[in-house]
Amino acid sequence: MPAQRPILRIEDAVKRYGRVVALDGLSLDLQAGEWLGLLGPNGAGKTTAMLAVAGLVSLDGGRIELDGRPTQGPVPADIGLVPQEVALYHRLTARENLAAFGRLNGLSGAMLQERLRWALDWTGLESRADERVGRYSGGMKRRLNIACGVLHRPRVVLLDEPTVGVDPQARERIFDMLDELTEEGTALVQSTHELGDIEGFCDRLVVMDHGREVASGTLEDLIRDGVGDHAHLTLELDREPPDGIVPDLEILGRRITGHLDEPARDLPWVLESIGSAGCRVVRLEVRPPGLAEVFVALTGRELRE
């Protein structure tokens, strides 16, 4: 079966701000209906990459293609941008905001009305559609912020940290909304430095650092290739154990942490060693590796550094 042509392709993108290299040869592909997560610390180049796709930042090198055609100059209509900030007119109502951004994106008449109804239903804001946005909660504003960027049915939506500052419930709601978009065939590029935003939602991840891709693939691929299948162990004891009781694990006061290559094989041995030293386990946690470990393994630093 021939490979499907990507709806968005970034090839060897380079962008410099003076001496700072924001994008250093970034390349990635995005398929229709795919949800791609761009993960990286602040300054990794995620926002620059998205603004370049939106045509708001000119590249110093490389190219961007939308549906096989290079994008240059004005922003293509197929792109929807959801800025990191809540980019809404706070003295206007949700309906007025949607209408304004809809018109600016070329919608009018019955089509605009139809899309307004869809957006208010999609965001769950129908009952408060005629209220000023300034009175909305953070989660409601975020939902409306996304709706204003997708109202004109773009084929690719760029979401720059779309859930910054919202509570977990509101975040779930937003991800459900985005899920609906991908089901309809819309491709999403979502940047974040919050692991919770990526794990379990995105189809594919691109880990970025210093303007480059350091790894990409599904979450499972990244974990397997980045840190293997080991588990992370945390033990809390009733008292401080003697030194060297469990080689290869780190002892810090009454706390023992470390990796277990094969938990089923290694854990009984660890517990037995602790028991034979006369200590009792008060708390035990065995956790599979996550993106945080992958990121540290790939870049040598924490995501929030």
């Binding site: 708001l56 000119s58 800025p83």
Partner: protein, 392 residues
């Protein structure tokens, strides 16, 4: 504890350039401007008053008086096409001269004259918008009358006139002078037209500068990113904002003038005045709107815009004559004021509401205001280029 709070507050102030500017630089700047204006006021008050003189008779007294006036440094005697009262009146009405002196046939000193034959009064056809000019000419006429009489009677200056002690010596002025309003009637108050225009234009500038901050707000909260991504384009965005500011400005100034008409009897509701008002208001609002956009294009934050616009607008207001009439200023500042668009707006409104001039006479003001509007708008567009692509 208190010292820590003090230290933190001090550090905050030290690193806030706008606050420092408003706290220390702005007061000094304004003091300097006001000091320059009012220190020069005495001098400005006796700046030559543009005057025309018409002597209807050919008597020695009239000739002597005209001769005296022409040598007085406080007056700038303008040539006049035809030496008659109506031409002189027209010169004042046009605003070319501030006062016209009409010396009637048989004019002379009242002192010592026969009560049955008191000489006719010298007429001063005056533009009352500058009360100082009226006082200056009136005083010069009295001094001139005495000097001429002394010369005619061959009296050494400084010694009493030989007529002293005779009948009529107790009259308050040696020369009878009648001041006639060359413009408007006694009910017409020049200060109403001046302040409606002055304050109207001043607050117009503040209003548009304040509203133009929406561009910075949009930039700060990401809306600009969204607008540019929607292919609105910066030129169209600025054009839309500019148009809004022009409309806002027109409405604001109109409200001010309607209030002046209703509450202070400014003559606005006649076709001629309405036409003149519209002809000046539209380009004034356009220039103010362009200024607002330029200020927001220059500044990087709304806080910066607030500080900068207060400084710029107050300086323009002082130089342009919004806060006090320009005839109070030293001539250098007055000349500098002509470089501000608001001075042209005020001059236009004065022409409409005080000098009762028609549309063709407003063309210079309309042209200058329109040119300012265009230049400031182009500058704003040029500076706003850095917003267009977020990497600039």
């Amino acid at each position: 504890m208190i010292t820590t709070v003090l230290r933190v507050t001090l550090l905050n102030l030290r690193r806030d350039r706008v606050a420092l500017l408003l706290t220390f630089v702005l007061p000094i700047l304004f003091f300097s401007v006001f000091a320059s204006v009012f220190a020069g006021m005495d001098e400005a008050a006796i700046k030559p008053v543009r005057t025309v003189v018409v002597a209807e008779g050919d008597e020695a007294f009239a000739r002597g008086l005209v001769d005296y006036l022409s040598q007085e440094s406080v007056l700038e005697l303008l040539p006049i096409e035809s030496r008659d009262r109506s031409t002189a009146l027209e010169v004042v009405r046009r605003g070319d001269a501030q006062v016209a002196v009409v010396v009637p046939r048989g004019a002379g000193l009242t002192w010592g004259s026969n009560p049955a034959q008191i000489p006719p009064a010298v007429e001063m056809l005056a533009d009352r918008s500058n009360p100082l000019a009226v006082g200056v000419v009136r005083g010069t006429l009295q001094a001139g009358a005495v000097a001429v009489a002394q010369r005619l009677l061959q009296v050494v200056p400084g010694t009493p006139l030989p007529v002293q002690g005779s009948a009529g010596w107790d009259r308050p002025e040696p020369l009878r002078v009648e001041v006639v309003d060359a413009l408007g009637g006694p009910d017409k108050r020049p200060s109403v037209a001046f302040f409606a225009a002055g304050l109207g234009v001043l607050f117009l500038m503040f209003a548009v500068a304040g509203r133009s901050s929406i561009l910075l707000e949009e930039r700060e909260n990401g809306i600009l990113q969204r607008l540019l991504a929607a292919r609105v384009g910066l030129t169209r965005l600025l054009a839309g904002r500019w148009l809004f500011l022009v409309l806002l400005g027109c409405v604001q100034v109109t409200v001010m003038f309607v209030w002046a008409a209703v509450a202070f009897s400014l003559e606005l509701f006649t076709p001629r005045h309405l036409l003149g008002f519209a002809a000046i208001t539209v380009p004034t609002a356009a220039a103010a709107a362009s200024l607002g956009l330029l200020l927001s294009a220059v500044c990087r934050t709304r806080t910066q815009l607030n500080g900068v616009s207060v400084v710029v607008i107050l300086i323009l207001a002082v130089l342009g004559g919004n806060l006090f009439p320009s005839f109070l200023m030293p001539s250098e500042l007055r000349e500098l004021g002509r470089l501000t668009f608001n001075s042209w707006a005020l001059s236009g409104y004065q022409k409409v509401f005080w000098y009762e001039q028609q549309l063709p006479e407003l063309v210079p003001e309309i042209m200058v205001l329109s040119a300012w509007a265009l230049v400031l708008l182009l500058l704003a567009r040029l500076l706003a280029q850095r917003w267009e692509r977020l990497d600039r």
